[in-house]
Amino acid sequence: MTPTDLLARPAEPATGRRSRRRSATLVLGCVLTGLVALLAVVSFLWLPYSPDDTSGGRLAGPGDGHLLGTDKLGRDLLTQLMTGARIAFGAGLGSVSVAALVGVTLGVLAAFAQGWLDDTLSAFLDILIAFPTLLLAMLVVAARSATLGSAVLAIGLAQSAVVARLVRILVKRVLTQDYITAARTSGTSWPRTVAGHVLPNIWPTLVVNLALQFGLAVLAEASLSYLGLGAPPPNASWGRLLQEAQATFTTAPAGALAPGILLVLLVIGVNLIADGLRDVLDPAGRGRRT
């Protein structure tokens, strides 16, 4: 038995019904997310129209060469949604990568810190968490310029505080385990202990949290774009599509409904995946909310 197995393996096998419901959550999440991911992938290979093509009529309804209709400028809505899916995934993956990189590093450091340094770091993280993500993102965007990169960086940084705090707690808990003491007394260096024993023990909870952060990041990017501070036009971020369609909602509802529905599908999808993953990876924590 390796030390890893001591902490996070199921103590008893789950009952049949539970495991079925669990996997159903995971499957449904994967299907929803997969559908949206498919849009993004296909958009690289094929698009109904060029994104800049303004040859359609103003706010044309669905049908007549445009499956979902057109926007004010006569651009095909489906095309916009497909390129928007790329941005959504880009924003989600990018932000989560930044959050994971910065958050895990900070969190591990904070866990090892002692005394006043520990207090300072955790106070700093608490303040950062209390600071609204969107506001922080707006500050970063204002300091740099409004690009997708700025938005991703800003969202990622805001989220890294949440990740760091979680990692700090998890690592602290792992550090009290006997196998860490065993590893240390057998002469393993701290970096090797972290890489070989600490990280493998915290990753199930971490991955679940990152999946949740992914959904939040997608929403945050859409919000920033809605405010005109995300990916600059003509990039068809869903947030921007929603903003543009707001004024025309009564005459051309498809323009607002379609990006809204996709946003909901994707966010629900990754949340279901996170739920499912938690149950599969970390049954001991079932019912506990991260």
Partner: protein
Amino acid sequence: MSLKKTSLYAATTVAALSVALTACGGSSSSGSSGGAWDKDATVNIGSLYEPQNLDNTAGGGQGVTEALNGNVYEGLFKLTDDGDVEKLLAENYKVSDDGLTYTFTLRDGVRFHSGKKLTSADVKYSLEKVLADDSQSARKSNLKVVKHIATPDAKTVKVTLSQKSISFVYNLSYVWIINSEAKNLKTTEDGTGPYTLAKWTRGSALSLDRFADYWGDAAANKKVVFHYYKNATALNNALMTNAVDVVTGEQSPDALDQFKNNQNYKVNDGDSTTKLLLAFNDKAKPFNNVKVRQAVSAAIDDKKLLHSVWGDYGRLIGSMVPPTDPWYEDLTDVNAYNVKKAKRLLAEAGYRDGFAFTLDTPNYDPHPTAATFIKSELAKVGITVKINTITSDQWYTKVYQNHDFTATLQEHVNDRDLVWYGNPDFYWGYDDKHVTAWIKQAEEASTTAQQTALLKKANRKTAEDAASDWLYLYPQIVVASSKLSGYPLNGLNAQFYAYDIKKKG
């Protein structure tokens, strides 16, 4: 000479008055056909522009003009909804033969809301307030010509100018006459208008009450409440649910269907003075080349853009001058949409393979939409547009103050703002010595006919030079309950005179 001038102004005033009277007659007759109007009605006005503060020399924004100009504060002159200048607190005035001294006689019996009588000292104080170092008045630079203000007696104000300025009287219509003893003007008021400020609830509403001791005709309603909304959808919903009676200006054509086919509402299509500009930096490459500017102007289908943003509303004007300016001319044929010509001009300018430039785009509507459209249009002639989204603060520092841009999009809301093309230091840096001279001469002209002729010449030259690309003129769409009549239609410079609004009981 001076007599002749005065009579000329008198003639214009009479003409304007008769127009105003006809308009009044029309609206009151339509009012009476459906029942009597309520003299003590409360008129609820919906707007998106809450004032920042109540002082128009302290950056109050367009909301302060909308709510207070003409309603609470009055000038020596007023700008009517049709763009004419009429005498208001000035009963009469004389201009010296050299055109440098203006003598104003104040109207009798005018009282401030605090009860104090209007005197020449208040006029002097108010003018000096606009000209003060810390004043943020938009008209400060236009009034810089004021050299000396004298008050020989309580009813007379004598203003000496450093150079002739035919727009002086027009510019005075922006100068509120304020009680020289008034304090806290950012949150309170002391004007002479038909309404007093009743209550200002920040973030939601500003209400005005009819002033009992008003010197002129009393307002046609007892109370006016401006309700402020954060977005156009909320504003339209308020109108639909009768929370407001009238919306000062619609922001999009697509919400109008619900009112157009409804007999309880009237949709009015007026002319605004707001122009959407693709402003080039005329001093920097590549737009210091006239041919490049002409090519870009010709490559963009303004009509399609207007239709995209405004549906069937709004119009193209092809220059900086809106139809309510006296020197308006339809210049849509100059540098009209012509892709072939655009390509030829680009080749002549040495950009056969096109070029790339950054377009600084404010992050609020309609700029992102327009930028997207321009990018797609210019791609067809080989020009690559990189859209850089910025906030309005960033626009102010980067573009307006530091001139650090290649091209930008911006709405220009004021009337008579062609004159900025006569200032080579303005942000777009247009520098043509003829235009600068014509605009200067126009300001020093002796008659409005001369002024108009010179400004028409200047306007044509800027249009031919494609100094900027004037994409379109916004419509001014006022939607009101059909119970209402007598509201302004054109909303010049965001003014909204409420005192003629009649509401049926």
